[in-house]
């Protein structure tokens, strides 16, 4: 089974700050880590490999320092890392990013499964995974919480929904985005970390992946971030006190006033 995991390096904070002038993320002084959702994709890929044999290749598009994230992924059990990095990719939106990753994946040749985290913790778009499958013209199942059955040709998975879950059967190759319910990522192993330290990371540029230059980076991005703002914090609710009867009556009046 040939498995590809797409990951992103994100700032190590859930409290992402935004530059009010440029409307971009402030990355200075913030340590970069593997996107937490991608950790579940890495773990699932390694588990599939352990069960079925094969190879896990971890792929990321990003600046040269994203190589660290790939090495961490190798420490967690992935076999090979590929960094797609080029100044031409700068400013890419989710469309241009997924196009770039799809071009890189086409260069790999044969694969059975692509795994992605359901979204990145910085941008929160959840669009790149599905975008890759669209560019590659392969099926996709998002929010996968369990891979029930899988062989080289097909898979049966559980897709989480707000009310419960769907059971989806799909031919392979297919792209899955996974949710945190799918597994508990392992700790890195020392042998893995040592292998990661000396592992060769392939570095591909725009020319290496035969991408159409006009579809890359800011120029290839059909969307623009016009404004990023911090929403007003929610105001505290109103607390009613008194006996149950009093409170219920008061609440009914308030709801009537609010015309709900």
């Amino acid at each position: 089974m040939n498995i590809i995991v797409c990951i992103k390096q994100v700032p190590n904070t859930t409290d992402v700050r935004i530059d009010p002038v440029t409307n971009t993320l402030i990355r200075d002084g913030v340590e970069s880590v593997i996107n937490p959702f991608d950790a579940y994709a890495i773990e699932e890929a390694v588990r599939l490999k352990e069960r079925l044999g094969g190879k896990v290749t971890v792929l990321t598009m990003g600046p040269p320092q994203a190589e660290n994230a790939l090495r961490q992924a190798i420490g967690l059990g992935c076999d090979e890392g590929v960094l797609v990095s080029d100044r031409k990719f700068a400013g890419a939106d989710t469309w241009a990013t997924s196009y770039t990753l799809a071009c890189a994946i086409e260069k790999f040749g044969e694969f059975n499964v692509i795994l992605c985290g359901k979204q990145a913790s910085d941008g929160d778009t959840a669009q790149v995974g599905p975008g890759i499958s669209a560019h590659l013209d392969i099926p996709q199942v998002t929010y996968v919480r369990k891979i029930e059955e899988i062989d080289e040709k097909r898979a049966k998975v559980e897709r989480m929904t707000e009310e419960g879950y769907d059971v989806v059967e799909t031919p392979l190759p297919c792209l899955f985005t996974v949710v945190k319910e799918i597994n508990t990522p392992r700790m890195p192993s020392l042998k893995g970390m040592m292998r990661a330290k000396s592992a060769k990371i392939a570095k591909w540029t725009a020319a290496d992946i035969d991408a159409e230059p006009a579809l890359l980076g800011l120029d290839g991005s059909p969307t623009r971030v016009v404004k990023v703002f911090t929403p007003e914090p929610r105001k505290g609710g109103e607390l009613l006190s008194g006996t149950a009867e009093e409170v219920a009556g008061e609440l009914a009046d308030l709801l009537k006033e609010a015309v709900i």
């Binding site: 392992r186 700790m187 890195p188 192993s189 020392l190 970390m193």
Partner: protein, 384 residues
Amino acid sequence: MDYLLTEQQTMIRDLARRIAVEKIKPVAAHYDETEEFAWPIMKVLAESDLFGIYLPEAYGGLGGGIMDMCLVTEELSRACGGIALGYAGTALGTLPILLHGSDEQKKRFLPDVARGKRLAAFCLTEAEAGSDAGSIKTTARKEGDKYVLNGTKQWITNAGEADIYTVVAITDKARGARGASAFIVEKGAKGMEFGKKEKKMGIRASATREVIFTDCEVPAANLLAREGMGFIVALKTLDTSRPGVAAQAVGIAQGALDHALDYARTRVQFGAPISSFQAIQHMLADMGTQIEAARALTYSVARLVDSGAKGISKESAMAKLFASDVAMKVAVDAVQIMGGYGYMRDYPVEKYMRDAKITQIYEGTNQIQRNVVAANMIKETLKK
């Protein structure tokens, strides 16, 4: 303080610390309360390759030494001294094989230990042979190509959970101290049973049981070194392992100080955090200084052991007794700083105080350590 760890040692320490914080800390109180053996944590340590760090690469290890083992033991103990013992007790049970085993024995047992597939235990103590280890009564009688063991080992760490037991038994009573031999006994051997699980003051996540041998048959191929080498194997093992107890003590002390420091900074009395009071500051300063001194001595001795130096008994005893006395004092002071909260079982420091106590007792009481230190000092002056 920077102890100039190698890149690999830094990696090992950071990984052990991460496991301690993310995996052990959240469950330490649970295992202390239930006295269960923390198998899920052992599994994490195994998958992270930590069980093999001090074993040679030829036997599936990572080729490090006692220093590496100490770094892991310290970090795990900072979160829970009891759970850490599943790890450190395995090292103690494995050292006789590492130090005195034949290549065949090492090939047979070390790779499984390195992978964390099998835990180990060291069996020396008996009901009437504690500090006076020479008076053990368990016997091993040779019959053809096997030995038959009879006797009861007491207070054996990891007993029942471990798969590999290194056991010291008398093969020739007439030869006194040279009449003991060491054996590798595998769990499941006919005639091997475990006594009831002991209820302890501290390190309650660690399993402590009797190991009972009744006509227990052990293949002659499992004899370590030669007949008569039993006490030499035991003493060399303990000299090598004591920095590990010291590291456990340093970890427990550091964990207690971490809690006391956090508490002192947030606990407000008389309108100010109690960390602003000199009475508390001086206690914290002493605790921090003593821990650093204990850590420095422990690391120095661990490195001395790894250098292959001969005659490490004195230094190894010094590290164990100093670090464990520090752990006890620091843990008592941590409870004192936290006052009533420190005494309550809802808060973690009373556990550190209970856990610290054992480090002054096992692998040789601190009184025995002082005997060893003094005897060696006197011997050294005589040589001059």
